[in-house]
Symmetry: C2
Subunit: 445 residues, 2 copies
């Protein structure tokens, strides 16, 4: 595959590797979907005279953001049951609506909306866990975003599958069909220790090892999850996963709010990747993950938004800010989780958690050209004494102007390419009508 080279010059380039680098007046050259060169802008045109050129004079160029934990299709349930207790939220809102409405069409419409929202806010890769992953994959392929599809396994039937064995069979069949798309990866995605039986977890442990697949799982989300596990099986969920052979470098463990020093050592020794979802954890009152202690223990920490039903958006810029403010505030230390580290968590550490660090996560020659531009000329990011701080503490998602994935433009001047947004939104609004009749009890749920 060949195509025209593309030169993108920007006021700032934040390559993430090397650490702390903020390059000024440099240009990035894309060839065949990969980063081919990174050089002073004054030299770029001379060296690549036939390239297409884009100059971004008030922008920062950085690697595409990696959302390390989502339930994309849940955008259709956005904001439902806000400010309710966890039980009311699940039992009166989320579960009845999913039971009544969640099917392939629901997942496709919700996934398209989620992908539009993610692309427009600078996310170029997401790690998903939901039913009908085939529908989410189809939307991701069409819209060009990079995705790790979790093959869901849970201990109750849905329209997607009947039983744990059925979930697993359907998931693996789906994986077998997707050998053609380099932007798609797979993980086994058992929901949690309390919702998947022991025999199934043992089977997943064996399969993960034989097929060399990541395992994407909620873990220690709440104190109750930990206390229940100790009461039922005499050990924490982390100890239980160790016992099952699942606590290892393949594990992408999401939430981890209820952990003490022993658990932190176990996670570090096993090489587990942690995914921090601060907004969901705060909004549901689940707890606060001790991210600074994870980092000091050498645990890799990526960032995730969780689903839009508990966040209520899929905005990694906002998530970076919340993670930073929370780490400083919870520990009373303004030097905790500095802005550069937050950008690293949302890019390279996310890529590492997904096993994609040789392909994405930094702007290095040879990697896939997954990059985004953020326009820092808005009033709230002016003056811009420190572009890294401004991206984290003051920019909003609306300042993401451009997104490329494997060198292909997916957002240009703040608009999707191709611009299917109106169709996506009007489909979502139709779902809004159907679901709200359900919430109001105008039809049996």
């Amino acid at each position: 595959m060949t195509g025209q080279d593309r030169i993108i010059s920007a006021r700032w380039i934040i390559p993430v590797v090397p650490e702390h680098a903020v390059l000024e007046q440099m240009a990035l050259v894309i060839r065949d979907g990969r980063i081919h060169d990174l050089l002073p802008r004054t030299l770029a045109v001379g060296r690549y005279p036939d390239a297409e050129r884009l100059d971004l004079p008030t922008h920062a160029l950085l690697p595409g953001l990696v959302n390390a934990h989502t339930h994309a299709a849940m955008t259709l349930l956005r904001g439902l049951g806000a400010d309710q207790s966890l039980n009311v939220w699940l039992e009166q809102f989320i579960w009845p609506l999913e039971k009544r409405w969640m099917d392939r069409e629901f997942v496709k419409a919700g996934s398209r909306l989620a992908i539009a929202e993610m692309l427009l806010s600078g996310t170029t890769c997401f790690n998903d866990m939901y039913f009908f992953p085939d529908a989410t994959l189809e939307a991701a392929e069409l819209m060009g975003i990079r995705m790790m599809a979790g093959l869901p396994v849970i201990g109750f039937p849905t329209r997607w599958a009947e039983s744990p064995a059925d979930y697993l069979r359907r998931g693996l069949e789906l994986r077998d069909r997707y050998t053609h798309n380099a932007r798609v990866r797979f993980a086994l995605a058992p929901h949690a220790v309390y919702s998947v039986d022991e025999a199934t977890l043992k089977l997943l442990s064996t399969l993960a090892s034989e097929l060399d697949l990541p395992v994407h799982m909620h873990l220690h989300e709440t104190r109750k999850e930990v206390e229940d596990s100790i009461r039922i099986r005499g050990m924490t969920p982390i100890a239980y996963l160790y016992h099952l052979g699942l606590l290892n470098a393949r594990l992408i463990a999401v939430h981890l709010t209820a952990v003490g020093p022993d658990e932190i050592r176990q996670l570090a020794d096993a090489g587990v990747s942690a995914v921090h979802c601060p907004e969901s954890n705060l909004k549901l009152g689940s707890g606060i993950a001790p991210v600074e202690r994870f980092r000091h223990a050498g645990i890799r920490v990526a960032l995730g938004t969780d689903g839009a039903a508990s966040n209520d958006d899929l905005d990694l810029l906002g998530e970076m800010r919340t993670a930073g403010l929370l780490a400083k505030g919870a520990g009373g230390d303004p030097t905790a989780l500095p802005a550069g580290e937050l950008i690293r968590m949302a890019t390279l550490e996310g890529a590492r958690a997904l096993g994609l660090e040789t392909e994405i996560g930094s702007l290095e020659v040879g990697k896939s050209a997954d990059c985004i531009a953020i326009d820092l000329s808005a009033p709230a990011t002016t003056p811009c004494h420190d572009p890294v701080a401004q991206i984290v503490y003051a920019a909003t998602r609306n300042q993401v102007s451009h997104v490329w994935i494997a060198g292909t433009p997916r957002v240009v001047d703040g608009r999707l390419v191709p611009d299917e947004l109106e169709d996506i939104l009007s489909t979502a609004r139709n779902w809004e009508d159907r679901l709200s009749r359900g919430v109001r009890g105008e039809e049996a749920v």
Copy 2:
């Protein structure tokens, strides 16, 4: 004064009073700068056939936001010293830069930028505390925003004033000159108990009472402030203010992170208004104000952004979200500070703290037409099952489409009226160059 009536119809109107009301398909009628009527949209045109009409089919209309604590001009120092300890931030960044650069021109440029940012993000009234309040007032008058100007008093000289008595004299003279603008109010603004001497605080206590002026003051921002006060004078800052006659319903007390049950009772008994600045408190590691306990004790709580140097923006929508997430997360209770209450804090409670509740803070007939529209048709706020939750948990400032203050449009379709933004930004960028040479040591600071 007469003028053409204006009908604004919107998909949702959130009037704040009555509590919890979300009106659908209603219209608000503005006459002579005031809210003249609130009626079904289908009746509005018949009743006011000659009115100008604006239809906002995907928007929520709500009262203008009240930013109850700012240092507007500090926008020019945005992001400087991010992620540093409080001492390094103040001693190596903020104070030397202020000492070298802070003058009337600095305050004017920073205030214009701040007001542009606030108007564009839906703030229609702000409570400021900074030097050269005459320059901030001048910008506020020109740009049409409502303002409470703090008359600053601090125990060290600046270019604005030499001594506490000089600060006070200049402030009161300024107040005497502003009897002509109903959108401008004044407060006495002693910086804090540790930076203003006792004799001056006693004088301010007398003046506040004689002139019936609010007192705007930082209070219990950090544990250190409280401990120092106990060491020096044997009592907390709150007890000290009580002793000085300053702890009363005129006091607008900002921060209040380090307070226990005794202090909460003292604040409640005195009728003090609290201003919660969660992002600044988190970013500086100052602590977390116990907002839910304030509310249960009957203390009025307003919201503020603090200055952009410690936030790094003046975005009350973002501040509402952070306040909500933090209250839920810190207490482990997802029902804490529900979305409707956060909107109330950012509108009516702010107006009450400033003594302006008969004029602004809710969409009630007779009040000034200070209102804003937020477009909820963006991907991140679609579907919109719950507009109140979506405004708080998912909308960004860029979705503020229209702003009126006393019936005059100040933002239309996301643009300032008149659109002086380019001039404001280019002046701010000139300051960026000068200040950054100062930070890099290219000239003596």
